[in-house]
């Protein structure tokens, strides 16, 4: 599984002194050297190693409605979990729905090409695919109490389409079998009702030739139209161990 190297070289007090004497040297390291794993991502990978949950949607676009916590305040992690764990606290507002996209590069809605990937499944003709996007998800007790049957959440892989952005952007998640004329939108979804126990969930993306992806993962949850902002308890959603494999 591709993973970033654990350490980076950092300047110290001594190097600061030497740099001042060397006058104008010792600027930031060049950008290329800061890429931990340059080039296409090969084989299975943790989504959090290459994609950022920066695409807040719905009520999440407004400050204070959607609080994302990384690697702290998580639910006790599932066995052998990897990558980052997340906690989302969603306070309903006027939109009555919210969600988050994990995208590459961060904050892109199709402005830039997606991350190049080479899946572990060889489809022939130089094409590769992944089998699934798997992850674990759950809600907290208060959310379950407010939603006695469990909280329904929709999970997505792919689905970014720059042409739908305002103004339109040039790139989209798509699957191509040949030239540009063979490309079709790439989007796979899996809706699940969550309770307080971890559920291992899988989104099937098999037999889908992919060379790049912008939106590797997303979740969307909603409130009933009758929900009153400020009066309705928040939804707390835990997500962990998101893997393309």
């Amino acid at each position: 599984m591709s993973a970033p190297s654990p350490s980076r070289s950092r300047s110290t007090a001594l190097s600061a002194l030497l740099c001042s004497l060397a006058a104008i040297a010792c600027g930031p390291p060049d950008e290329g050297s800061r890429v931990l794993n340059p080039g296409p991502v090969k084989g299975p990978f943790y989504v959090s190693d290459f994609f950022t949950p920066s695409g807040d949607m719905g009520d999440g676009e407004f400050a204070g409605n959607l609080i994302t916590t990384f690697n702290t305040a998580c639910k006790a992690r599932p066995p052998n979990a990897g990558g980052d764990c997340y906690r989302f606290d969603y306070y309903v507002s006027s939109e009555k729905w919210a969600g988050v996209y994990w995208v590459f590069p961060s904050n892109s809605w199709g402005a830039y090409p997606g991350r190049s990937i080479i899946g572990p499944v060889d489809l022939g003709n130089g094409q590769h695919s992944y089998n699934s996007v798997t992850f674990s998800a759950a809600v907290d007790q208060a959310t379950l109490d407010a939603n006695p049957g469990g909280l329904f959440v929709n999970f997505i892989a792919g689905g970014i389409d720059g042409s739908q952005a305002s103004p339109p952007q040039p790139y989209a998640d798509q699957s191509c079998t040949g030239g540009p004329s063979t490309c079709v939108p790439f989007k796979a979804e899996q809706g699940t009702t969550l309770d307080t126990d971890w559920q291992k969930i899988s989104i099937d993306i098999s037999n889908t030739p992919l060379t790049a992806v912008i939106g590797a993962f997303a979740w969307v949850s909603s409130y009933p139209p009758t929900a009153v902002p400020g009066m309705t308890p928040p939804q707390t959603i835990f997500i962990d161990d998101i893997v393309w494999e």
């Binding site: 300047s11 001042s20 600027g27 800061r34 340059p38 950022t52 402005a111």
Partner: protein
């Protein structure tokens, strides 16, 4: 050569040596008591209304011969002092040697120690006096004054010497703040202050409502960069509304305190324990996505507070290493704790180390002085703990170099005298020319936001009451990034984020209270040293990128300085200013003010 001649020559040499020996053996009289200000008077007579070449001639005349062989010691000392002062004016490295010889000829006279000390506190040094060396001589002067007093040889003019020594020490320690120990506190008593440590407290408070921050960052560049970022593909993906662009211009309330406890000792230099607190009220944009109101209509930016605290150690000392140069070594290691800086995370707290080094090198070239300054600053900003690892790295690098040429020669300038305009040789406080460059690079993962400044300027400090400054600064901003999909992570420029502008700065300064006109101490509890009325004018003109934030700014400021001579002698610097800034392409006017109160100071 004949053998006889060789013998005669040898005999003559022996005889000559013997005669010389006899002559040297004859005791030279100590001579009359001479007021050391005789040295100052002769120096002024030799330099008044003269070109540097003529001053050089005066020096040569006095060097050859330095003095007659039978002149008494006190006369020799005075003549050596004149030579040393002329050499100091001409930038000659021999000045210190001749001051030392003057003192050795008349070791009881404290006035020569005063003048020797002035060499290191007024002439030599790099971005500050050679404080410890000047201190050596000022305290020796105090010691000798005490000895003269004890011996009943304290003359009226020694009271003036003593007052000047106290004033010079007061100025020497003016940055230190309030003395907490007695030995170096005003008025310094005797030689004990030389070796004794000083612990002093400096406190500075600044409050402003200004588009410019306390670091004097270029606000046109800052606003333009914010606009471009908001319009970039990773935010709005297109132009933002004019109202949002208008509201990027803001002058939040800011306040800041800088405090340090300084440990100063002659052998050590100055070691500071520093603390600063900087707060901005509703001045940082929460997120650069164009905000929407809850009903979906376009909203205004959401502004959040920022707080930056720093604590750590500073060290500085000037080392005289002539004949090469004087060098100032200054450095800092501080822990930074800040909140509110990270987009979308107004409560996210960052803690990291700041390392800074600021060496300066200075030397005389004839009567003029060249100074070369460097700044290197590195902030090991905390990596963000979320998002893909490639985007987590944070850091800030500031690198700057400045070259200054100070012209101290008297200039032939047009001047009205007796109702007529004519060209006259006019002494000045210096005509300074400087040029430099500064890089300020912020690392955001695989992106680098690069800001460059290139500037050149001049400052004319007249002998009278007016100073003038004119500077041009070419300022750029750009973003470079790596293509993570490329196996080699090639670097490219993000063309959507580039801008440049040109700033013209003019400063007119009128001395209301001239420090040069108040050489001594007035004897009251508050000793006013300086007051200046300053008119700053800046004009920012866009070159590349949006010109929306072009502006002109005019202000009036009052700078003043006084010493608390009635309470241990700390220096106070109150400053108050008002500016009017007009962003003419936006038709937006901003009123700005700032008030600064300082007791001692670090960097200004």
């Amino acid at each position: 050569m004949s053998k006889l001649f060789v013998v005669a020559s040898a005999a003559a040499q022996v005889l000559g040596l013997a005669l010389t020996g006899v002559a040297h053996a004859a005791p030279v009289e100590q001579g009359p008591e001479i007021n050391p200000y005789e040295c100052l008077g002769r120096y002024e007579a030799a330099t008044g209304n003269r070109s540097m070449a003529q001053v050089r001639e005066e020096l040569e005349k006095r060097l050859h011969p330095l003095f007659d062989k039978d002149e008494p010691h006190s006369v020799r000392a005075m003549k050596l002092c004149v030579v040393a002062k002329l050499e100091a004016r001409l930038g000659d490295g021999d000045a210190s040697e001749h001051f030392a010889r003057a003192i050795s000829e008349n070791p009881e006279e404290p006035g020569y120690e005063l003048f020797y000390g002035e060499l290191y506190s007024g002439y030599r040094g790099a971005r500050g006096p050679v404080l410890e060396t000047a201190e050596d001589h000022y305290y020796l002067a105090l010691k000798k004054l005490d000895a003269l007093r004890a011996a009943g040889k304290f003359r009226d003019y020694h009271a003036i010497v003593e007052e000047w020594v106290h004033k010079k020490l007061l100025v020497l320690y003016q940055e230190d703040g309030l003395p907490l120990l007695p030995w170096k506190a005003f008025p310094e008593h005797g030689y004990a202050g030389h070796d004794a440590p000083q612990v002093s407290l400096s406190a500075q408070f600044a409050i402003s409502k200004d588009t410019r921050d306390f670091y004097r960052n270029n606000e046109m560049r800052s606003f333009t960069s914010e606009l471009l970022f908001a319009q970039s593909p990773v935010r709005n993906m297109g132009p933002i509304s004019r109202l949002l662009a208008y509201n990027i211009v803001r002058n939040p309330l800011r306040y800041r305190t800088d405090d340090f406890v300084r440990l100063r000792q002659n052998y050590l230099g100055a070691l500071d324990f520093v603390y600063s607190y900087d707060h901005m009220v509703k001045g940082q944009i929460y997120g650069y996505y164009p905000p929407l109101n809850p009903d979906g209509t376009p909203g205004n930016w959401q502004f959040v507070d920022t707080t930056v605290q720093q604590a750590g150690l500073n060290y500085q000392r000037v080392f005289p290493i002539y004949p090469l140069f004087d060098v100032k070594l200054a450095g800092s290691v501080q822990r930074v704790d800040r909140v509110g800086i990270v987009e979308f995370q107004p409560t996210y707290r960052e803690k990291f180390w700041l390392y800074e080094a600021r060496p300066s090198f200075s030397r005389f070239i004839g009567p003029d002085k060249v100074t070369l300054d460097f700044v290197y600053s590195y902030m090991g900003v905390t990596d963000i703990p979320y998002g893909e690892p490639d985007e987590a790295l944070r850091g800030k690098y500031i690198r700057a170099v400045n070259l200054e040429y100070a012209l101290y020669s008297p200039l032939v300038l047009p001047e009205f005298r007796s109702g007529e305009l004519g060209m006259h040789r006019t002494p000045t406080r210096g005509w300074y020319f400087n040029a430099g460059a500064a890089d300020d690079d912020d690392v955001y993962g695989t992106r680098t936001v690069r800001k460059h400044d290139f500037y050149a300027g001049t400052r004319f400090e007249g002998a009278g009451n007016y100073d003038f400054t004119l500077q041009g600064t070419y300022a750029t901003a750009m973003t470079t990034l790596a293509d993570q999909n490329d196996p080699n992570g090639i670097e490219r420029l993000d063309a959507t984020q580039s801008s440049s502008s040109f700033r013209t700065t003019a400063l007119i300064q009128r001395r209301i209270i001239n420090p040069d006109a108040i050489p001594g101490i007035n004897g009251s509890a508050i000793d006013f040293d300086m007051m200046n009325l300053v008119i700053p004018i800046t004009w920012d003109k866009g070159l590349q990128g949006p010109h929306l934030y072009e502006n002109i700014r005019v202000g009036a400021e009052l700078w003043s300085k006084f010493f608390g001579t009635g309470f241990l002698g700390p220096a106070f610097l109150p400053t108050v200013g008002y500016d009017y800034q007009y962003f003419y392409n936006l038709k937006k006017a901003v009123n700005e003010f700032h008030v600064d109160l300082r007791m001692g100071w670090g960097k200004l």
